[in-house]
Amino acid sequence: PVTKRAVAEAAQHDKVPRPVGFVPPPPPCPGKIRYFDI
């Protein structure tokens, strides 16, 4: 029988262990601002 796991539990299992000091890459867009934003 298929049992629906609690989201928290599923999330716990699915969470990939991050190496210490892992810094997520910057979002690809939008890019950096060269002058100023209005």
Binding site: P28, C29, P30, G31, K32, I33, Y35, F36, D37, I38
Partner: protein, 259 residues
Amino acid sequence: VPAAPPTPLGCDDPESEAAAEAAVNYINGHSHHGYKFAFNRIEDIRVVPQGPSKDIIFLELDLLETTCHILSPTPLANCTVRSFTEHAVEGDCDVKLQRVDGTLSVLASKCHSHADSSEDIIKVCPECPLLASLNNTEVLEAVSAALNDYNSKTTDSYLRLLEIGRAKIQYHPAHVVVIEFAVGATNCSAEDAKADVKACQLLPKHQSNFGFCTAVMVKSPSQDLKVDCQLYGHQVPAPYIPLLSRPGVTYPYPGQDTS
């Protein structure tokens, strides 16, 4: 095993910046009014592969107005971006490019420009003058007075108005109108114009001397008018040199604008 989909381009990747630069050069090269725009930010980029070494690139660009009129021969790299407190103008552009074997060409572009909101300027600089509408009566009177003043004093060609670029009006502590406008030389000297100004026509485009004038008209507490006009000299199109040319990316003549 099907090939892995290409990793999507980031907005700060060198290839994205090369595409943005080609787009900005195309936009400035195909605009006939207002000021040159500088590249400020890539909002988004989407690459649609069309086959081996052939892609369609969709760019969303954020540009900022510079102080160089579009007719100025000054290279974009030497044009100052108008500061926030000068009441900056932003350009939002959607551009479609084609890249074949690394060569970029613009297929279509569509831009919309808008001045920063007055509230934003006043928040940062309460006493900064704000942009006025170009058909404001005070602006039109100031442009007419400035051009007449210049033509009455010059020994060169009689100048005619091409377009008003921008205008700002300050009311306190003094009442001041600051204007910028583009001018064209005519086939008359200023002296001839005194006799028959109707005969003075703008020189044909390929010959004419374009120029740019700035003027400050103080209306109170005292009256004063200062005008400065710079003629660009004969418009010899400068050879196109990519601002930041990159190996492997070349820029052909501008593409056909199908926007």
